[in-house]
């Protein structure tokens, strides 16, 4: 081999190495901003870092959208993407920002609370990171991220066990990167705890009356457990509205109102022993009535080989999003009837409209 050829080969190897370094460094902790295309109802936009300064400029800061009627009424907060693989929550919150017009009261929406987790694919590896969908403006991609904050953004290895500020312990140390185990958060805590702190500060400063954290669980389908070959029940969380104990009556009335619309949910209350969850800690630490909903996502069934999180026959996204938006609407109605503080929303698609036209018809 000539000297010239050796030099060329060396140069090629160096370039390849640098490229590899670049690619691998970009595969983690990519700077990510959710694709949200605000509609006419959005009156202003802020950031979570407006409520927790240390998040500014990081991969954990996330947009906050305000839909303010200017007329006094209830203030509500909708959280999507606490767990970015729980697609119906992210999509529903995004749909509210892109369609809803508030006529009385104020709606605050964070479509993707965990942008860090959204910046990486679901670590279960069964669903692609970006899912194509036909929207009003053509082809668009819905991101499907991981449950946890990216460890690169957390900036420290997971502890052996996660200890909540209250002393409550969880055996899985990765839960330290679960936003929904970190409430009420901590200003100088881990980046994950700072996100939870930012939400709490937003609730306090914006005087939020009620909040709903949109989640998804596995489906309730029975399955054969590979470990022992036995038939096991699916997720008991599916189709559930979890309420802070002080919000239970409004939650029960909401479930009854949803049944009238043909949507059957179970009502449950926060377990005071399981600390760090939004529905428990928000309601306990503030005047806000806090709720959390769970719809069934086939992508979260461990037994499915190739789940279709968009068009599954039994659990299509349009059905799950339909439930989420009706939960938000019914909560607003019941809260208004109970307290006299109304939140009147227009241009939010109904469950029936979503089943007829599908999700993409209501995304910009």
């Amino acid at each position: 081999m000539s000297v010239l050829k050796m030099k060329t080969l060396t140069r090629k190897l160096v370039v390849a190495f640098v490229m590899l370094l670049l690619v691998s460094s970009k595969s983690h902790a990519a700077f990510f901003r959710p694709d949200v295309r605000p509609g006419y109802g959005v009156t202003s936009q802020g950031w979570l870092s407006d409520y927790c300064e240390s998040l500014r400029g990081t991969n954990l800061d996330t947009p906050v959208f305000f839909l303010d009627s200017g007329k006094s009424g209830a203030s509500a907060l909708v959280l999507g993407g606490t767990h970015p693989r729980e697609l119906a929550g992210v999509t529903s919150a995004t749909m509210l920002v892109e369609n809803c017009e508030v006529k009385v009261g104020r709606l605050v929406v964070i479509p993707c609370l965990n942008v860090s987790g959204m910046s990486i694919p679901d670590q279960n590896g069964k669903v692609p990171h970006f899912l194509p969908i036909e929207s009003r403006s053509g082809l668009r991609y819905l991101p499907y991220g991981d449950r946890y904050v990216d460890i690169q953004d957390q900036g420290q290895p997971d502890p052996e066990k996660f200890q909540h500020f209250s002393g409550y312990e969880i055996d899985d140390g990765a839960e330290s990167r679960n936003i929904n185990r970190n409430y009420p958060g901590k200003k100088d805590g881990t980046p994950t705890a700072q996100v939870a702190f930012g939400v709490m500060e937003l609730i306090r400063k914006e005087k939020i009356n009620f909040s709903i954290d949109l989640h998804e669980s596995g489906t309730p389908d029975y399955f054969i457990d590979r470990k022992n070959g036995e038939v096991s029940p699916g997720s008991r969380l599916a189709y559930m509205l979890v309420c802070n104990p002080k919000a239970l009556e409004i939650g029960a009335e909401t479930v009854l109102a949803l049944e009238e619309k043909g949507i059957s949910l179970k009502v449950d209350q926060s377990n005071p022993e399981f600390r760090g969850l939004s529905h428990l800690e928000i309601g306990n630490a503030t005047d806000c009535l806090s709720f959390l909903s769970e719809t069934p996502n086939p992508g979260q069934d461990t037994w499915r080989e190739a789940p279709d999180v968009l068009f599954d026959h039994d659990y299509p996204l349009k059905m799950r999003v339909g439930i989420c938006v009706e939960v938000v609407k019914s909560l607003a109605d019941i809260y208004g009837e109970t307290t006299g503080k109304k939140l009147v929303m227009e241009n939010v698609p109904s469950y029936e409209e979503l089943q007829e036209k599908d999700v993409g018809a209501f995304l910009n």
Binding site: R236, L256, D268, Q269
Partner: protein, 186 residues
Amino acid sequence: MYKNKIFRLILSFLFAILFCHAAFAASNIALTSAGQSPDAMMVKVVLKKMDVEVDFDSAMDPAAIKDNHKVLIVVVGGSSKGLGAAGIDQDQEKARIEEILKIANEKGLKILVMHVGGASRRGTLSDLFLDTVVPHADYVIYVKGANEDGYFTKVSEEKKIPVEESETIRALDEHLKKVLGEWGVI
């Protein structure tokens, strides 16, 4: 003129008495949970929609059963979360319910047992409370899904207790109207 003023004052006083009586009139229905699931709250909400006021406490103290009560509604559903929230364990809950049932029987209250959580609210914990409460029932209403193992059918046949199935939680109002109407409390 002076007489007119006195007449108005008396009238206002009478109205105030009437208002206070209406506002503080105790209900003749006591409603509690057996197992601390939120299902008792669901029944309270259904009754509220029917404009039926009840004395509700999911963890009702047995001493809260008073002479004005004519009916006791016990909504069965075991929940470890609910028990935790109430700060009690299943044995303490069972003891509370047994004491309430004892007092209700002594006072001659009609006892309506309800199960509204469907299949997902059956299992060891819920069944422990069902077995405690159902033998005392004058009437049982359950929501579809809870009788997949024939539990309520068996109760109806063996214990000769009238049992009704409701299609949905929303449809409970018709069943409640019928039973509570027959018992003369609504």
